[in-house]
Amino acid sequence: MADDDVVELSRWRMARDVKTGPAGGDAVEDKDDVPLLRLARGEPGAAEACLDAYGPLVQGLARRLMPSGADVDDVVQEVLVEVWRTADRFDPARASDRGYVAMLTRRRIIDRRRRAERRPELVSFDLEVEERGDDEHRRTQGRLEAAPAVEALETLPEEKRSWILMAVVEGFSHSEIAEKTGSPLGTVKSGIRRGLTQMRRWLEQREVREVGP
């Protein structure tokens, strides 16, 4: 890497004891017990179970992706309400339940960012907040739980892996990564794209290996 100080890979605990699960997330021995599926089936009390299972995830992700800390509770509420509405769209064959909820969370936060950027009077404020939220703040949760997606990440060359970590976990933009690592922007963009593509292929092959001939 051009700048070892940017991403301290030693801080990341890569998964060794990877459990099974669709494309990532926690292992689920009995999918009938997945709170999201229980919610989709309309089981009594499933909403509370979802709240316990996914509330901290949504909140943790919102705090990480919104360094200013503003509106975190609003995002949590919006996402979980969306979970209530869209539980029947969750397909356990394509994603883990936590991954699905994380996807909804990230989308919601990005939407909010985009809306804020369209309001000129808020742009400067947001930028100021961004500046105050230093890099360390974004690295407060530098730990990866065991998951197939993490195992796939491990298979990448260090440079691609670190760029993906910076982009996904630490929330840096492509431009910021290029600036911090001294790499050309185009190289960063293509590296992240190719890295994710490699991960996807690895996961698909893994699924084939597990299913067997």
Partner: protein, 273 residues
């Protein structure tokens, strides 16, 4: 050389990580039409899996007000006794003065900055103090079939009930047995005050080492029937319990509660290693 397919993937990556502007969104739509067999969400899902793996399961829980607000919007969510409750036990700054007589238990019921640690430490400390009150009393070891059946499980743990601060549990003794493998347990209780179900009921909470300490699992609402000194009560854990550390019985309104004020702790049983 960058192909249209690369452009498509690049736009999906940008959408997942940073979002797209109007022109980019239009370009993405066009390319998705061109590549009709491409999964349009594969990047979103993969990033979601990484996100899920990167947020610690020990992340701080939601505030009570936020939980209630979200649950209010949930289809079918209710606070009725038959529903699945998840035992949020928030700190209550309006703890009755009567609790102050037990300073350790009182500490468990009031907190500010370190409420998570206090919440756990307080319950455990209340158990420890109450155990001193209990002395060596262990009661009869006559085992009813249900209790004995669970107790024979290889992973069964048994914890002894001790009085909590609430007078309903002043004379309590007995044990609780739990098997995580079987997800079954039974409380054997003696001396817990007989209750009138239309006035109040007892509710069990199970603290699990694998869960946020502030959100113990609801173990079910139960009554102490008149005419008998002892009762065996099957535990009805509403969520899986992997590694229980403490069982606590509170006095609640008829039907139980979703969020206990923790004002009335009848009895606790701490699991010792």
């Amino acid at each position: 050389m960058t192909t249209h397919r690369d452009e498509l993937d690049a736009l999906m990556v940008k959408r997942a990580l940073e979002g797209l502007d109007g022109d980019e969104t239009q370009a993405l739509e066009t390319l998705l039409d061109e590549f009709g067999d491409v999964d349009p969400e594969w990047v979103d899902r993969l990033v979601g899996e990484l996100d899920a793996a990167s947020v610690s399961v020990e992340a701080q829980g939601l505030s009570t007000s936020l939980r209630e607000a979200v649950l209010a919007a949930a289809p079918g969510a209710s606070t009725d006794a038959g529903g699945l409750r998840t035992g949020a036990l928030p700190v209550d700054s309006t703890t009755p003065a009567r609790q102050a007589r037990d300073t350790v238990a009182h500490a468990a019921l009031t907190s500010t900055k370190t409420r998570r640690r206090r919440a756990w430490g307080g319950w455990a400390a209340a158990a420890a103090v109450a155990a001193l009150w209990l002395g060596s009393a262990s009661g009869s070891r006559e085992s009813a079939p249900a209790f004995a059946a669970v107790a024979t499980a290889p992973d069964a743990i048994v914890a002894e009930w001790a009085p909590g601060p609430d007078p309903t549990g002043a004379e309590v003794r007995g044990e609780v047995v739990w098997s995580s493998d079987g997800q079954a347990g039974v409380m054997r209780l003696q001396g817990l005050r007989v209750n009138a179900p239309d006035e109040y009921q007892y509710q069990l909470w199970i603290f699990d080492r694998d869960r946020d300490e502030r959100y113990p699992v609801d173990g079910g609402v139960f009554d102490m029937p008149p005419g008998g000194e002892a009762a065996e009560v099957p535990i009805q854990a509403k969520l899986a319990v992997a590694d229980p550390t403490l069982f606590a019985v509170t006095v609640e309104q008829p039907g139980g509660v979703v969020v206990s004020s923790r004002e009335r702790i009848a009895t606790v049983a701490e699991v010792t290693d």
